[in-house]
């Protein structure tokens, strides 16, 4: 099973993911009908893509009193039963990532459905800011990024002469 992984540090805030999400689901480009939203933190020059993370213990499902949410067994996506959803927005508040939105016309909630296993946001993001990878491997990219920081820090420390170990350290 695959999950979405986001890399906010790569996101440039073009909102092409939002465009394609609402386009594929609703046949129109509308930022409030996208299941992924890019939030810009202006003062920090950050863009953060926010979408469903397919949590193992879905707080949204637990919060729903109408039984309108369930997990798709094939994709692991949270599926909204449009008949059952009454638009009470309990799941909106339950989601720790702010990934649940409300459709103002249908008055029911919008949650990423992984486009049935071919997420369009991933397909169209040129920055690689959203990936769709197997759950078992979802940590790898982040680990690699972390290791890069460690390597950079070590290199800097060596240069500054704070710590000289390894190759140059045994003279």
């Amino acid at each position: 099973m695959n999950v979405l992984v986001t890399y906010p540090e790569r996101c440039v805030g073009c909102r092409i993911c939002e465009q394609w999400c609402s386009w594929k689901h609703e046949g129109q480009v509308n930022p409030t009908k996208s299941r992924i939203r890019v939030h810009r933190v202006h003062s920090k020059y950050l863009n953060i893509p926010v979408t469903c993370m397919q949590c193992a213990k879905s707080p949204c499902i637990a919060a729903c009193r109408e039984g309108a949410l369930r997990k798709d067994s094939a994709t692991g996506a949270v599926i909204v039963d449009e008949e059952k959803c009454i638009g009470c927005r309990r799941c909106v508040r339950a989601c720790p990532y702010g990934a649940v939105a409300i459709d103002k016309d249908k008055r029911i909630v919008l949650i990423c459905d992984l486009c049935g296993g071919e997420p369009q946001c991933v397909a169209h993001c040129r920055e690689g800011a959203i990936e769709y990878v197997s759950l078992a491997l979802a940590d790898r990219g982040h680990r690699a990024a972390y290791v890069e920081t460690v390597v950079a820090t070590m290199a800097a420390e060596t240069k500054d002469g704070i710590k000289a170990t390894g190759e140059g350290g045994c003279q």
């Binding site: 540090e9 440039v12 805030g13 073009c14 909102r15 092409i16 465009q19 394609w20 609402s22 386009w23 046949g27 129109q28 480009v29 509308n30 930022p31 409030t32 009908k33 939030h39 810009r40 933190v41 202006h42 003062s43 020059y45 863009n47 103002k104 169209h124 040129r126 920055e127």
Partner: protein, 609 residues
């Protein structure tokens, strides 16, 4: 006829009376002039009386989007403001990227027309169909970033888009810009001063709707195609990697990069402020406008030194040229700081750089002295002094007050009008006309003064071994064609960065898929010609003609002293004659009755002249 792609309404706000009305979008005008720049030229000519005071209540700010904004179309993110410029007195428009344009469409409007003058500071709050004027007394005097932040906090929504002016606009600096999304602006021509004169501090927008497109399938296929073209195109890739400063090396390398107030076209220290150095030293990330797969906005951070902690989006190529090379400044950190001051006070970085370089030349020539500058040593190359001067101009302090009037007025006051590198009062962009003749003609005939995007011919002129840039043959025709093309691109409201990779055909195809209209390239170029003529007519009504289509004498009489374009000057008159001829204009640069009739503009002209 209901045109697809349009939101269907135009918002008209009269600040004097406080009335806010919604009018149906004039579909026929949009069909005839595409959108944004084209429609703006038409509306300004029709709605503005001749000789309207640019800083009086009767001037208008006509904000317009294009039909492709808010759809899937790549690079559809420009919004235009059209107005009579307080800097030049001509028709003027400027384009802003970022996320404002789609937000306006999503809120349900194709444009916003601002008229009159409020009796105290206000801001306009557009919340879908709920529109109101709100008190802005507490925002008056605030810097642009702080204004954006304050408005978002006050309206309790971080995703609201804001366009605002800073203190420079409030104090009516003639080259004040309107700032949006922190670092995107309606830059040239002084729209910020017009907004300041109207007591309008900001426009805040929230839109939650969408626009309908005519042929979704075609649009989707075309969008994918355009992504592919952009991903493969070398120029687009360079821009994606380096931002607009990717042009520094090419422009400087051929010696047509305005340096030290355009005394030459080659900056020996150019490598210090080129893209590679910026990438290595200051770039920390990228920022994109809406729907753009290029993301040319680069975020810069100064890590150490007196300006440590300064963070901006930029510097753009034009700012690098005018605040950098043209001031002889190769100190990257001072350059970033100077850009930041312009952005937060709301000044056009281009005019600001041109004005600073004028000040520096005057200082070196002894026309102004240390006494006038409060002790600033305004020599070319002094980055620290540049930063200090920017602050003075932004606040209209000391000598800054004089230079806030723009290069032409300042130089006239100092008795050295020939030292202002400007056309019609609009300061030069960064390209040196002596090293690139077509750009010279483009500056000269531009309806809004020396602007590089009216006829950006540098691409074809520098192709191959680059020697074509010195030729005169075919330049009038090239300028004319490029001018029409740009009028179309600007009216579509696609970012002009798309133009490097896409042919007119792809851009028009996007337009047709969105609107459902049938338009081919020839038809589009004809619309470009009509727009060009409308703009000319506006200026003609204000008394502009051939006598105003000139370059400063430095370009015409002094041979370029150094660099790869050494020894060159611009022979303008023959190019002008040829250009007027091709346009069907008379020897004075006035569209002939005949030509106007052919273009279907004769009746309009009779009505408004």
């Amino acid at each position: 006829m209901a045109l697809k792609g349009l939101a269907g309404k135009i918002l008209r706000v009269n600040l004097t009376s406080g009335s806010i009305t919604k009018e149906p979008t004039p579909d026929d005008v949009f069909a005839g002039y595409i959108g944004a720049r084209g429609v703006g030229a038409y509306l300004l000519l029709k709605e503005l009386k001749a000789h309207t005071d640019p800083l009086g209540p009767d001037n208008k700010l006509i904000f317009l989007t294009g039909p492709v904004e808010g759809t899937l179309a790549p690079g559809a993110n420009k919004i235009t403001v059209t107005f009579r410029s307080p800097l030049t007195g001509t028709y003027s428009f400027s384009l802003c990227g970022g996320h404002l344009a789609p937000e306006v469409k999503f809120a349900g409007y194709d444009g916003i027309i601002i008229e009159g003058r409020a009796d105290r500071p206000v801001y306009l709050w557009i919340d879908d169909d709920r529109v109101s004027l709100k008190d802005a007394s507490h925002l008056w005097g605030k810097l642009t970033h702080a204004t954006e932040d304050a408005i978002r906090a006050e309206l309790k929504d971080d995703a609201i888009r804001v366009a605002c002016i800073g203190p420079a606009g409030e104090k009516l600096s003639r080259f004040a810009c309107i700032q949006s999304d922190y670092h995107r602006e309606f830059g040239r021509g002084g729209a910020g001063a017009v907004m300041g004169a109207k007591n309008l501090k900001a426009i805040a927008v929230r839109g939650t709707g969408s626009v309908e497109v005519a042929d979704p399938e075609a649009l989707e296929a075309l969008t994918e195609k355009v992504y592919g073209i952009l991903a493969a195109n070398l120029k687009a890739r360079a821009r994606r990697y380096y931002g607009t400063p990717e042009m520094v090396d090419g422009t400087n390398g051929l010696g047509y990069w305005g340096t030290r107030n355009f005394s030459t076209g080659y900056f020996e220290e150019g490598h210090n402020i080129n893209a590679a150095n910026m990438k290595e030293k200051i770039f920390v990330g990228s920022m994109s406008c809406y729907a753009c797969p290029i993301a040319c906005g680069k975020v810069s951070l100064i890590r150490s030194g007196p300006y440590a902690g300064t963070m901006i989006e930029g510097p753009e190529f034009e700012s690098t040229g005018l605040l950098g090379a043209n001031c002889g400044v190769s100190d990257l950190e001072a350059l970033v700081k100077a850009v930041e001051i312009c952005d937060i006070y709301g000044l056009d970085t281009m005019s600001a750089g041109a004005v600073a370089s004028l000040a520096m030349e005057c200082y070196e020539k002894g026309i102004i002295t240390k006494e006038d500058t409060d002790g600033l040593e305004l020599n070319f190359g002094n980055g620290e002094a540049l930063v200090a001067l920017m602050e003075k101009i932004a606040r209209r302090e000391g000598i800054g007050d004089l230079f806030a009037e723009g290069a032409k007025r300042a130089a006239e006051k100092l008795g050295v009008p020939e030292l202002a590198m400007q056309v019609k009062g609009q300061e030069f962009a960064t390209y040196e006309p002596r090293g690139c003749k077509g750009m010279g003609l483009g500056y000269a005939i531009s309806p809004k003064g020396a602007h590089h995007m009216i006829a950006p011919t540098m691409g074809p002129e520098t192709a191959g071994d680059g020697s074509k840039r010195f030729e005169y043959k075919g330049k009038a025709a090239l300028v004319r064609e490029t001018q029409f093309l740009m009028a179309v691109v600007d009216s579509l409201s696609l970012c002009s960065s798309m133009r490097f990779a896409l042919g007119l055909k792809e851009q028009i195809d996007l337009y047709c898929a969105v609107t459902g209209l049938a338009l081919d390239e020839a038809g589009a170029m004809l619309i470009g010609e009509k727009i060009t003529n409308l703009e000319r007519l506006f200026n003609l009504r204000e008394g502009f003609d051939r006598k105003d289509d000139y370059l400063p004498s430095r370009m015409l009489k002094e041979k370029m002293p150094t660099g790869p374009s050494q020894g060159h000057l611009v022979e303008l008159d023959p190019m002008l004659d040829e250009y007027y001829d091709l346009m069907g204009w008379d020897h004075e640069g006035r569209p002939t009755e005949n030509r106007l009739a052919e273009l279907g503009l004769a009746e309009l002209w009779r009505e408004v002249r």
